[in-house]
């Protein structure tokens, strides 16, 4: 169960769907390099519910076919340059969603249900272009009441970073329960952590409350500062200067290449 970043990356196969968390929830930036090095492409990324640096870098590296997301941006550092460029060139397909629809799709998978209903969306172009969604008439209403059904999202692999795992494979996710939702919905879950502890996180009710059980975890690997330049709650803040540096560099394909060759995987610890 405990392995290396490189061996974890090898579990990714060409064409797979990969779920990645939102900036502040624990992005495994440490996996970005090994994934690019491994090189399995044609990936379908599912942003839970939005994407940032990691998504932009995987797109820049040419590994991405589709991005299913509610947004991709670098936050304070502005738009995601490789994403925006790829959209303009038409080299990736964007399945534009809205945050609760991504959550609904994962929840459907969590429940073993084929879909989940969701309010809103009627009359939006988000719905108009999502031909994989359906609208039915709410069977519980007396009058016509259209409601959108979101099909289950079942990623092949979920990848995220968390503060702690124990040697049994249990992972402490705290109140970032979207990480659990991703794992429940996904066939396999790869987790990088700041540190691995000896004692089971399930032994104390206090830590158990914020723990994703090992049954949902395929592999874990130690990666100190593994969310950098993103921050990790309770551990370290976001390195905004570094994200700005990336944003500037990645305005061009060449700048992106240069950044990735020199700048990646060097957290300023």
């Amino acid at each position: 169960m405990v392995t290396t970043l490189r061996d974890m990356a090898k579990q990714i196969e060409r064409g797979m769907s990969i779920a990645l968390p939102v900036d502040y929830a624990g992005v495994s930036m440490a996996m970005t390099g090994p994934i690019i090095e491994h090189g399995a492409g044609d990936l379908h990324l599912i942003c839970v519910p939005t994407g940032g640096l990691q998504v932009d870098q995987l797109i820049g590296a040419g590994l991405v076919r589709t991005v299913e997301t509610s947004a991709v941006s670098l936050g304070e550092a502005g738009g995601a340059p490789r994403f925006n460029d790829a959209v303009k060139k038409g080299s990736i397909r964007v399945m534009d969603a809205t945050c609760p629809a991504i959550h609904a799709g994962l929840m459907a998978a969590q429940k073993g249900s084929p879909f989940l209903p969701m309010r809103g969306l009627i009359g939006t172009d988000v719905l108009r272009y999502r031909t994989d969604w359906r609208v039915i008439d709410n069977p519980f209403a007396d009058d016509p009441d259209p409601i959108v059904l979101i099909p289950a999202i079942k990623p092949d692999i979920a990848i995220f970073h968390a503060p702690v795992a124990d040697r049994f494979g249990n992972v402490w996710i705290g109140r970032r329960r979207e990480l659990a939702a991703m794992a429940y919905a996904s066939t396999n879950t790869l987790v990088t952590v700041e540190r691995i502890v000896e004692e089971s996180l399930l032994l104390s009710e206090t830590t158990a409350a914020g723990t994703l059980p090992a049954i949902y975890v395929t592999s874990i690997a130690e990666a100190p500062k593994g969310a950098w330049p993103y921050g990790l709650w309770g551990e370290y803040p976001t390195d905004t200067a570094e994200i700005l540096r990336y944003a500037r560099a990645a305005r061009t394909a060449e700048g992106f290449e240069g950044y990735m060759q020199t700048g990646l995987m060097e957290p300023a610890i």
């Binding site: 609760p100 629809a101 939006t124 409601i147 990480l179």
Partner: protein, 258 residues
Amino acid sequence: MSAVLPREVLICAIARLLDGVRHVAVGASSPIPAAGAMLLRALKKKAGAPLPRISILGSVEHNFFTNGSAELFDCAGQGRIDAFFLGGGQIDGQGNVNLVGAGDYPGSTVRWPGSFGSAYLYFVVPRVILFREEHTPRVFVDKVDFISAPGVSADGVFRQGGPYALLTGKGLFAFDKEVPGFRLESVHPGHDLDDIRQSTGFEFAHEENPQQTALPDAETLRLLRGDVLDELTETYPAFAEQMRKDHELALKACEVVS
């Protein structure tokens, strides 16, 4: 005390728009809406009235949620969030909001991040305040190129929320869903109707001589520049620092004038 700054006018306008809410949610990168909500809370505290709850997304200090990033949407769906702010790359006269891109979708000539939660929250949060400082025809268009979230919905479509007001750097509009359309409520100091007309790509209703946006009284300004600014510093340090610098500059300008 120095003259009222343009951003202070906005913050005070937001505090007024939020009056009466029990719970307002604010985005992590929205210091002006957050300041407006905090000002309202400070005013209510002073008056001994029930305090509104403020959830600032992404903040550790003001994060009342413990169920991951889905909780905001669940909470709104339960009717527990009364007000929310929405920006937009484009906003049109029907209250439609576009957060996706300009030009023909999907190959947008300008691509913005995406719709985020707007396609849901606009339907369920009763008081959505559209807020965009940049007031230009590029933003306020006749018709958005992509509807992330529509201003109004057809009869029979579940809709318990929607646009309540539109606040820009130049003026304040109310939204009338019966028309549907915006009505200019007031013009911020330093701007006038003609200016707003030329900066707005859609038609809107207005008085012949629209009133000026109300300025805060001295007590409100004191609260804003004192307790609220201190509180704001925790979550938006850069913004709070800028506000302090602007005050100093304004104060100096006043001294020169007087």
